[in-house]
């Protein structure tokens, strides 16, 4: 078994002359929930899109369970699921048609998909709306639909970009429970969020990015020390982080 589910090594991403992320390394072990925080434009979504295979890095590697996301893409993608920051899915499908589509693409057999759809849609209170077209869904319902789709194939790595945006309190609570269950079952979760209280309470490890550089990474308790994560984040991100260095990479 691989020591880490997700390994990012010396990741760098440039857009023309602009360096979005420079030499970033981090890892997430099985059973871990890793929170990824940073200010707007820090490079969170850039890294996440490279992790899930939507955008190639300029240099560096991203591995999922040992599979290079860009050289062994299909094997890596089979093991993970992605929930983007904006749940844009095909408007012309119904919720169930979308889930069938995702299940077919990820090779989920009929019995398992029936069981998983029923369980997850009920938990996220979406079951009654699955016959409706996605075009009729609210933002929150689309978010729930994408979440159900992401969990259908029991991914070993779950990557989420701002997953709590748009969810009602009940769904938000349910999602936190689901993420913890996934981690307890041996999967890894890597998500970005601006809700520092959630990250502080939910995550085993936390990574802080500022202007494309990782300024802190390690167990949540170690990163925050005796202060709150919010205080640490403000200190690291807004007051400079000359003395802060990644504690694990």
């Amino acid at each position: 078994m691989e020591r880490f589910v997700l390994e990012v090594n010396h990741y760098r991403k440039e857009y023309g002359d602009h360096i979005a992320v420079r030499d970033l390394s981090l890892s997430v072990a099985p059973g871990e929930i890793c929170g990824f925080i940073g200010h707007n434009g820090a490079g969170k979504t850039t890294l996440i899109r490279s992790v899930v295979g939507a955008q190639p890095p300029t240099s560096g590697t991203v591995r999922v369970c040992g599979h290079d996301v860009w050289r062994d893409a299909i094997a890596a993608k089979r093991l993970m699921a992605y929930v983007p920051d904006n749940p844009d899915v095909y408007d012309f499908l119904t919720g169930m048609q979308y889930l069938d589509f995702v299940a077919d693409v990820f090779g989920v057999d009929a019995a398992k998909r029936r069981q998983r759809v029923s369980e997850l849609a009920t938990r996220l209170e979406l079951a009654d709306a699955l016959g409706d077209p996605v075009s009729a869904y609210s933002h929150g319902m689309r978010q729930k639909l994408v979440l159900v789709g992401a969990l259908l194939h029991d991914p070993t790595l779950l990557v989420l970009d701002e997953p709590f945006v748009g969810l009602d309190p009940a769904a938000s609570h349910e999602l936190k429970t689901i993420l913890r269950e996934r981690a307890d079952a041996g999967s890894a979760v890597f998500f970005s969020s601006h809700v520092l209280e959630v990250v502080e309470r939910l995550c085993d490890t936390v990574a802080v990015i500022r202007h494309g550089e990782l300024v802190a990474f390690g167990p949540t308790d170690e990163v925050r020390g005796s202060a709150s994560l919010e205080d640490v984040f403000l200190e690291l991100v807004e007051k400079g982080a000359d003395s802060a260095h990644p504690s694990r990479a």
Binding site: Q55, A73, A110
Partner: protein
């Protein structure tokens, strides 16, 4: 949103709206001189074509002694152009707007917002109206002794003609949109109705041509003059404002002019005030989705990723009538041509004058048998080459492209599914056409060549167009027409396919004349196959580079 009066915010919002409309038409700030020059050249070309066509129509009517029907027809032409524009653009521009909440929160009077939303549509409507009706009026005024002030009246009529119809079209579009967004299968119904309309128009034009079968030019001209006269009467009775406009230009009728101007100005004003009074409700009406069925949906049986992706593509085509009609128009024409050939016979059609510009007697048809047999398959090749649903299919992924990029399938599977959906539709049309031709007694070898030409050109050019789209997709479109009608992949694929079909058809006919019929058979079977193989090789190369491509 404030409900008071005043023009505060009018100009900034109008600038924004015009910018948005231009953006949706493909005009981008800082998009490069080449692109801007291309847009200008294309616009100039279209203007020249439209003016030339309308001038020819007007001159023809004058020659057919139907000149007095022209002003009414000009008013109608200008009106219809605006109606078409408003029907396409009003949903999403005037009502059902995505940015409604943002605009509603601005301290700007509602009337100003509605006026700003409708003004660019009226403006473009006026421009279209002037473009279409000015050549008609010019043809009339140059051929007759106009009444005093007729030129000025014609100018006023041209400018005002689209206003009332555009206002009514806005309301009609609102009603249709409100119904359509609540009806889950509105797209399919619209698609079927559009297909029936196309069939009706083509069948009507065939019937029109057939009615002049065997007649000489003088008889045809006289008949067209009668028809134009009848059209004038029909236009005047069906749309009285056109008759008022006609009377104002032809007879200098002041009453007609006043009535026309009053109606043209009153309608937009009333519609604007009416929309302003109910703007929040109007937006909610048009922006809402279908009613929730609130019943549990059933999970489907598992299928392969390729099959799932292909089914998804077909569902997308079925859900977007505009996309389907653009991508499948050639297939529809192919089936219609086959049925016509089957029912009436190819020889009878060639000698009847139904095909514009082709007037052969039965003897000439028989003498050209070899050339006709060589050319016929390329009619199908032509139809196949213009039926490329795959062309904009990568761009159509838009903001949902993350699904395509994170799916555990190769780029080849993603692109193949898009091509396969195109082939499924093309294959069905080709199969139906082949059956119709065989039933009609067309020789099996010609049917085979026709099927090969259609599928070969479709596969070849759909692959090339899809490759171009996969290389540089446009995910940032604001209206699907940007990529379905005006995108580079669609232009390159369809225009290239049509030109190559014509070229190969010419080559086949020439080879049949020089080397005999077997040479044309060889070309008709080999050339489409080579075209398909080249296209597939290009697509394979692009797929091997993977998604996202380097230029994304």
């Amino acid at each position: 949103m404030a409900v008071g009066s005043g023009s505060h915010g009018f100009l900034p919002l109008l600038r924004l709206q015009v910018g948005s409309l231009l953006y949706s038409l493909g005009v981008r700030r800082g998009s490069g001189r080449l692109r801007a020059a291309g847009v200008c050249v294309l616009a100039a070309f279209l203007v020249v074509m439209a003016v030339a066509y309308m001038w020819a129509l007007g001159s023809g009517m004058v020659a057919a002694d139907a000149g007095e029907a022209i002003p009414a027809l000009a008013a109608l032409a200008g009106s219809l152009a605006a109606v078409a524009l408003v029907f396409v653009k009003a949903p999403g521009t005037v009502f059902g707007c995505r940015d409604y909440d943002l605009v509603a929160a601005l301290p700007v009077p509602v009337r100003t917002v509605v006026l700003v939303r409708t003004a660019p549509l009226y403006g473009f409507g006026i421009a279209l109206s002037v473009l279409l009706s000015a050549p008609l009026h010019a043809a009339y005024l140059l051929a007759t002794t106009p009444a005093p002030g007729a030129v000025a009246t014609a100018v006023v009529v041209s400018a005002l003609a689209p206003l009332a119809p555009a206002a009514v079209a806005t309301l009609a579009s609102l009603v249709l949109t409100s119904v359509a967004v609540r009806f889950r299968h509105a797209g399919v119904v619209q698609l079927v109705l559009s297909a029936l309309l196309v069939v009706g128009v083509v069948a009507g034009s065939f019937a029109f041509s057939e009615s002049f079968s065997g007649a000489d030019d003088a008889t045809v001209l006289a008949a067209m003059g009668d028809m134009a006269g009848a059209l004038s009467v029909a236009v005047s009775s069906a749309y009285p404002p056109a008759a008022w406009a006609g009377a104002a230009v032809v007879d200098g009728s002041a009453t007609g002019l006043v009535a026309f101007c009053a109606l043209s100005l009153a309608c937009p004003a009333l519609v604007t005030l009416g929309l302003a009074a109910r703007y929040p409700a109007v937006n909610a009406l048009a922006a809402s989705g279908p009613r929730s069925r609130r019943r549990k949906a059933r999970v489907s049986a598992a299928t392969s990723p390729l099959s799932a992706l292909t089914r998804k593509e077909l569902r997308r085509i079925g859900s977007m009538p505009f996309y389907a009609m653009n991508g499948c128009a050639g297939l529809l024409l192919m089936v219609m041509a086959s049925v016509a050939a089957s029912v009436f016979g190819v020889d009878a059609q060639l000698s009847s004058g139904v095909v514009d510009g082709v007037r052969l007697d039965a003897q000439a048809v028989e003498a050209m048998r070899t050339q006709i047999d060589a050319a016929l398959p390329w009619v199908f090749g032509f139809c196949g080459a213009m039926s490329l649903t795959a062309s904009p299919s990568v761009s159509l992924e838009a903001r949902a492209n993350w699904l395509m990029l994170t799916a555990p399938v190769g780029a080849g599977t993603v692109l193949t599914s898009k091509l396969l959906a195109n082939i499924v539709l093309g294959g069905a049309a080709v199969a139906a056409s082949a059956v119709a031709l065989l039933v009609g007694g067309i020789a099996p070898l010609i049917v085979l060549q026709s099927a090969v030409c259609a599928m070969g050109m479709l596969v070849g050019f759909a692959s090339v167009a899809l490759s171009i789209d996969a290389l540089r997709p446009n995910f940032a479109w604001t209206s699907p027409s940007e990529i379905i009608k005006r995108g580079l992949p669609v232009m390159a694929g369809s225009l290239g396919g049509v030109l190559v079909s014509l070229g190969l058809g010419f080559l086949s006919v020439t080879a049949a004349g020089v080397f005999g019929p077997m040479a044309s058979v060889a070309i008709n079977l080999a050339a489409p196959a080579v075209c398909a193989l080249v296209g597939l090789a290009v697509l394979r190369t692009i797929a091997r580079r993977g998604l996202p491509g380097p230029s994304w």
